[in-house]
Amino acid sequence: MLENALRGDKKYWGWIAFLLGVMFVGLLFYLHQLHYGLGVTGLGRDVTWGFYIAQFTFLVGVAASGVMVVLPYYLHNFKVFGKLTVLGEFLAIASVIMCMLFIFVDMGQPFRIANVFLHPTPHSLMFWDTVVIFGYLILNVIISRVTFSAERKGIAPPSWIKPIILLSIPWAFSIHTVTAFLYSGLAARPFWMTAILAPRFLASAFAAGPALLVLLCLVVRKVARYDVGREPLQKLAVIITYAMAINVFFILMELFTTIYSNIPEHLAHIKFLYLGLEGNTRLVPWMWASSILAVISLVLLINPRTRKNETVLAFACVVTFLSLWIEKGLALVIAGFIPSPLGVVPDYWPTIPEFLISMGVYAVGFLVVTVLYKIAISVRERLAA
């Protein structure tokens, strides 16, 4: 099947070359980081996790959101998503690979990564996160490979794959729940220590992931002339609408509880995000941007007339994705550390090496998506012909 990814026009190869270039730059900077230490990042003694871990967290959500096409299709026999499931699974695979790479580049001693398995520690959530994320990758590789080979041969997938698909559904929820538990179980960080962090993560994931999938489908329609059809995108739009509304609702819950209860240690983080703290206004414009984008997103998505217009829908998806990325892929992790448990207000902003390494990881993800989508589309075009 891989040979399909080796045939393409100039634009295709140009895109691949661009991604390889970004990966190469990322790799060079990673080697620099390996040599110098994580000091090349903006991280420091007080803000110990930043851009890498934030991307990891955000992408676990994108990976988990694959379940939003898998669940209706396999559990409710929702045929409209037929063309979409494998694309959703491929996106999940690419996201999980990026997650793993983001963890890897964040580690101080990456060559000791095997210690997590050599000395398994069930009382550590990070151990469980590693287990469920690895498991999710394996599940998705098996499922997408088996169902897609069957499709290619024009036969029904073998019956043994069904229980594995069913298992993958709660598993998808588990990866983001366990990732939320990484944060919400820490008494030292009041900003994260909220019981609705896992539900919040799931809600934002089920909005951001499908929004990305809609955009990818529209890109594929334009670039590869492969159309998944109008209906599945409209159904995804409904899912995005509900998930985004729930996510905004959850954030308002958090704001109410924190502001009304008025516990200084909890309130300080919210102040830092929306007003700035002791002169540190680093995230203030971002947070207001995220809030405004969220409102625009909801207006465009809830109104059926705008949602049903594909051009507007595409715009709404971009807006939704950006709003959620700022909230979860930037602010959530950083704000947990500011102020510090001692009440100090440190500063953090990703450095250029940190950013370029992250872009390298994203390029790997895009390469995986490109290659897998190319294979899927080529095979389907041949089947249709």
Partner: protein, 266 residues
């Protein structure tokens, strides 16, 4: 470990029993080449006092005695010299095992506008609390940090993968990460104690290496004001317990359930 080596150690152990009283390094030390004086001669392992042991190590810090020594940093200097703690000269890369923090930062929940003048302007020494219920140990994915039977929260820098989850979990900011190679930033290297490498977390270990040699922690020894009392919390007759009985003590963020084992007398 292979079976052969087990056997080897067993035999070695039996031989040792028969020679138990032999002074450890006599035979060995005579032959040491005198090229280098910095620490090549191994110290005798059988100290006259033997290792210091306890059921539950803890420390009491008398804030008043400490504050009376305005701006004193002897404990910090002693600790950081002993353990090869680097000085990067910037807060971002900073590594510290023990440092002084303003009373308001160390005890946020105790701060108020009309605080005792001394408390308002002076700082207190803070370091790892060696919690009885340490959150850092709970979150570590490789058991690189764990609580010893004597209560010391220990750190295995050989095993640490540098994920920094422990730093996110510690409510006291007691842990430092090596953002870069620390060696060039150590003014004076103590050859008896290792430095650290890039990418591992480190913190106060209550000087386990000194306790094993029958010496108290370096900070306690260095404190000329005798503001620090180190001892066994489970020994009702210890100096430590007496101090806790007689004076009012507070602990940092005790409400979080970590059960910190550094007590501050106010």
């Amino acid at each position: 470990m292979s079976v052969d080596r087990r056997k080897f150690f067993k035999i070695a152990g039996l031989t040792a029993l028969s020679l138990a009283s032999k002074p450890a390094f006599e035979v060995f030390a005579e032959g040491v080449d005198p090229v280098d004086s910095t620490a090549t001669i191994p110290p005798p392992t059988t100290q006259p006092t033997g290792p210091l042991t306890a059921h539950r190590w803890a420390m009491v810090i008398d804030i008043h005695k400490c504050m009376a020594e305005h701006g004193c940093t002897k404990c910090i200097a002693a600790c950081h010299l002993e353990h090869n703690v680097p000085d990067f000269g910037n807060p971002k890369d900073e590594v510290k095992w023990i440092w002084k923090e303003s009373f308001g930062h160390a005890f946020q929940e105790q701060e108020n506008e009309h605080l005792h003048e001394e408390m308002k302007h002076q700082s207190v020494p803070v370091f790892c609390n060696h919690c009885d219920n340490p959150p850092c140990v709970r979150v570590c994915p490789t058991k690189a940090t764990w609580k010893r039977e004597d209560g010391i929260v220990m750190m295995d820098m050989h095993r640490c993968i540098g994920c920094r989850y422990c730093m996110a979990a510690c409510p006291y900011g007691s842990r430092s990460f090596n953002w870069r190679d620390p060696r060039p930033f150590i003014k004076e290297i103590n050859p008896k104690f290792p430095t650290r490498t890039r990418g591992v977390v480190e913190k106060c270990t209550f000087c386990v290496e000194r306790l094993a040699q029958g010496m108290p922690p370096a900070c306690v020894e260095a404190c000329t004001a005798q503001a620090m009392t180190f001892g066994d919390l489970e020994d009702a007759n210890s100096e430590l317990r007496t101090a806790l009985r007689e004076r009012f003590s507070i602990r940092r963020k005790a409400a979080l359930g970590t059960n910190p084992e550094i007590y501050y007398l106010v």
